[in-house]
Symmetry: D2
Subunit: 360 residues, 4 copies
């Protein structure tokens, strides 16, 4: 049965992608989008690709309206905002899929450490499900509150969870060196995003302390715990760079195996193939020939795919794992809709089968 | 009823887009793709976005196979090649949609002038229909041989045909200054397309003598003739530049009205609105506010839209008309499939409703 | 003898280029730079390429300080501002080189028409010399107030003045279709210059009414008048597009000759060769072979060159003339310094011999 | 006294930069450039920025000519080629500065391992000096054969040598994640460098086994040994990605300190400041405010600077060190000329003081 859905704060880039996909999703009726600053304006005034295509207007945010019109809402609000009204939304009985970071972390202390404030409703942190379909499919199906994974975090977790689950790598150190396009910093402009300043740069913008670090650690720790009954604390060294693109993330994870337990390439292949076998949107890309032997964001822009590939470095007992995804799709709106599909009982890939454009 | 279709020379960029769209087109079964150099290889070995998605392989070209398997074939061969086997294909009863320039020009002398060779089957030039759905919808529906418009030509014709039809502009001079991404020069690499050489350039690559000049003149002359019974020879000054993009064309047409018959903006609006009223893929983009007031290829990449906009320049009795389109979609594969939809009796927009990604 | 120079409003992009060139100019001592917002900050805090290289600080604007310290000042203020204090500067005896548009137009009515305000000191308009060294070398040598040409205007005038002077073309219509990088819109950021919005676009931002239109007309008219004693009013159709680059302009001029007086290519070659023979920074780039047969901004970034090339279009009695230059150098700071060199009696190319980087 | 210099194989991108800098170098006379394929052509036919500027022609390679005309030659030949004629060049008494990798490695077994062939003159490997002025200034001054450092290697070594020398970090693991523009793959084009394929990519092209790994290890080991009398084998995990640029490298090194010996930020500052104090081209870029707080290739294109910056990650005892340089200048031609200046007794920065363009 068709669901009525809304998007709170639909003007940002993740919101724009939600509208794009939901407006053509055969199982839902998108009937409510909000934006504080754009009330009364058409969506296509901000997203020019929708001119002549979609006539929906931005409205004011109202829990009452949500109650009346929506079975499920997506939240595109900034970090720190959704916690103020999610309890109310849950009370009126709508499912909530939050694209902000507010409900991603299970531990309120970690939240405080990384987001520099007390969480407004820490009692919901355990109830919320981390919105990464591949790791939490079962819980997502039953969830009322889903906190969609951060873009860098999704990329790093997809790269590493199969290796962690199968105990192929040492948990220390784990280095994740991530590269992202400019849309990752959102629709709000500033001096640093001015085209003459941002273009042609390789900008090391968050070498340490990036907030996605906490998500990655939480999820890898959970995978480790589940598969080994170990309570090992996992720490990752995560660093993020801006590159000369609008869309796309490539994360390069440098991880190590114990030299006493050397690994063969075919073992790694097997681990990933097994992990991704039933995953509709994770692809193992590791070829010996061709131009695109390893993942490259160029090939997945606009799609819900996360491409993962690896190379074994016998020289220093290292595995290099790459993951490419579109930060606005698999890193945000696409994963959110995949979660919705699960939570609503729709086929998991509904609305998400766009295959990308090549070359672009 | 579903049609079986094939693509001859599917490895080029227009061929790649044909595969992308046709493989997800609900009314056709794509069951044959050829490439001389790639026989036995999977399509996704060349188009990495199709890994895990599509398992079709390149086969050898064979009229016999076409006869057995296809109701309709698209030709992605280089200019000068399709004329050698189109007669045979028509003989075996398949419809042919040719993306090369071989059958675009009605006049074999013009063909010879611009393509520097005698046409191999000039008797087919009148039978062939110029593949621009908006101008030749009726003929395309009945055609067996369709010659899809060139990318720059489509852009220029969309910009100008409403003004020509309504006699709003002088036919001399007509200046078309076109800008295109690097995919326009095709999948074959050379020194000039080497990334360090081609990137960051504004390359004036065909200031005069561009082959699309002949198509533009032919079609504008036909529009003029139809609406005025005049036999006026039309000449256009067409110039093409490569800009720092992979996809997209923006053409800027500079045309003039008679100062004795001054024009008002609202007249021009009316002419375009009337012309595009029932066109599923032509949009008039002329706004007084916003960032994207006029067409910009950025907003239509991957789509089958051609966006047209104008500004009136009272200063010198000029109208500047812009047309943005994706050279590989509305400038090639998309128009080809729109033609197929017409020729096969499918809804005209089948398979062509992708709305584009923003920002990109 | 060395001159002391200052830059008023040195924080903008043209100001930054002035500092770059002047700080290494062997004949001047740059001892004063101002910026309202950056008083007390080092120049290298804004222009990171100057870290460890230059220790000059932004100071407050003061006519008194200028009088004490400077023989000559460059003005990098916005349009409409310099007219408020230029008279005072001239009174204290410094030479003024204004990069804004305030003193470019000779006719106060034209100023009012294009800049939408009354000029504050119209009596200076005749005294001011238009800062295009190639056309006004003699006056610049004696000038106290020089108004450096606009970037698009310089490009268009360089392309066309030899043809106008030699009466090779009709004065109506003259179409100039210009393409520019994002630095042309200056250091002030806004929604439209946000990298995700501005990148990958071909943005038709000023199809009609661009302010440089008036400069181009004024200068071409003057050239025409000088060589023919004609008082013909000249109107040009100028249109400007933003392309996917930071620096560089390519203008494409479409001009016509009388079909009764057909032109040969060698005549045009001769006209340009003669015109540019003694010009240190104008190059005729029109080759039959090679990748860069015609001007391309890629090859001149950072330099003071303006490259001009042409193609003759017999098809419609058209000459297409291209001019590539760096909008911040030959289109602003470089021309300003070339003017200074003339006005101060230095060798004309002092400080301006950087040859550019290739590939870039 | 002025030296006569030549460039063997000057057509490649490093060769082009050599010509650019040497042709304006006040202490040398560039009087011989060779290229097998371009004999008789002007340099400016390949490097269009030199049109009207430089009239030197490519000649045939001849040891006799070198002997007659040159005091010193630069070799821009591919890897594996210079070893075939360097002995002969040394015999005729010219100094040789080789930009290929042939003489970088001291250990012929390492050479064989990484370059897959026996070295033709292993007896010269010890005599050759590794061309990194900051580490080998003394030897370079006396050297007859200098092997200029690889571009990625230079970037990584500049980032790490101060930390290694002062024993601030553990030698295992050392991870270097490098990002480079497309000019790094040279002037030879292929399918993978075709603009539509290479543009907009983040291409992980050498995750393991990159040849520069050996250089980095050799040099860091030497630094370690010199400062600690240790013979510790050093292994680094080096990975290289292509990003959407023509020029520039940013390397991100992830290194670790012993948690028993925690480090403070000010110690690291001190180590770098001390190391770079007298270095004309190494800058420490680590700021708390501003847009360019850490190195970014955008700010150094065309210059001989290597900018190094760091962030301390207490979270996991990590130091992230960044180094930005222009792969064709400080990563090739610039370092080569800095070596020449040392070897010829010229001021070390002669010809190398270009400060870069901003914004670009």
């Amino acid at each position: 049965m068709e669901k009525n859905v809304g998007i709170i704060a639909a003007s940002g880039y993740a919101g724009g992608e939600l509208v794009r996909i939901l407006s053509q999703h055969e199982k839902v009726n998108l009937n409510y989008i909000t934006s504080r600053k754009l009330i009364g304006k058409y969506f296509h005034q901000i997203y020019p690709n929708f001119r002549n295509v979609l006539d929906i207007k931005f409205e004011e945010f109202s829990v009452k309206t949500i109650k009346e019109r929506c079975d499920l809402v997506f939240l595109g609000v900034p970090h720190g905002v959704s916690q103020d009204f999610v309890p109310e939304l849950l009370d009126v009985g709508v499912k909530v899929i939050d694209l902000s970071a507010d409900f991603r972390l299970k531990d309120k202390e970690q939240y405080k450490k990384y987001y520099k404030k007390e969480h407004a409703c820490p009692y919901l942190l355990q109830e919320a499900v981390y919105g990464l379909p591949e790791l939490h499919r079962k819980e997502i199906k039953k969830a009322n509150l889903i906190a969609v994974a951060g873009c860098h975090a999704a990329s790093a977790i997809y790269a590493l969870y199969p290796l962690v689950r199968e105990h192929l790598i040492k948990m220390d150190p784990i280095i994740i060196d991530s590269k992202t396009g400019s849309s990752g910093s959102g629709a709000t402009f500033n001096e640093a995003t001015h085209h003459p300043i941002r273009a042609n740069s390789i900008r090391p913008y968050a070498m340490t302390g990036h907030r996605h670090t906490a998500e990655i650690e939480q999820e890898l720790m959970a995978v480790k715990k589940e598969s080994s009954a170990s309570n090992q604390i996992v720490k990752v060294g995560f660093s993020a760079h801006g590159v000369n693109l609008v869309r796309g993330i490539l994360s390069t994870s440098h991880v190590f195996f114990d030299e006493k337990n050397p690994i063969e390439e075919k073992q790694i292949f097997k681990v990933y193939r097994t992990a991704f076998k039933n995953e509709p949107f994770l692809r193992l890309i590791t070829q010996k020939t061709g131009i695109f032997r390893l993942p490259d964001p160029k090939t997945i822009i606009g799609t819900n795919y996360a491409d993962v590939g690896f190379q074994l470095d016998d020289h220093m007992n290292r595995i290099v794992v790459l993951c490419a995804l579109d930060n606005l799709v698999k890193g945000a709106a696409g994963n959110a809709i995949q979660c919705m599909n699960l939570a609503c009982g729709f086929p998991e890939d509904t609305g998400l089968t766009f295959t990308g454009l090549f070359p672009i």
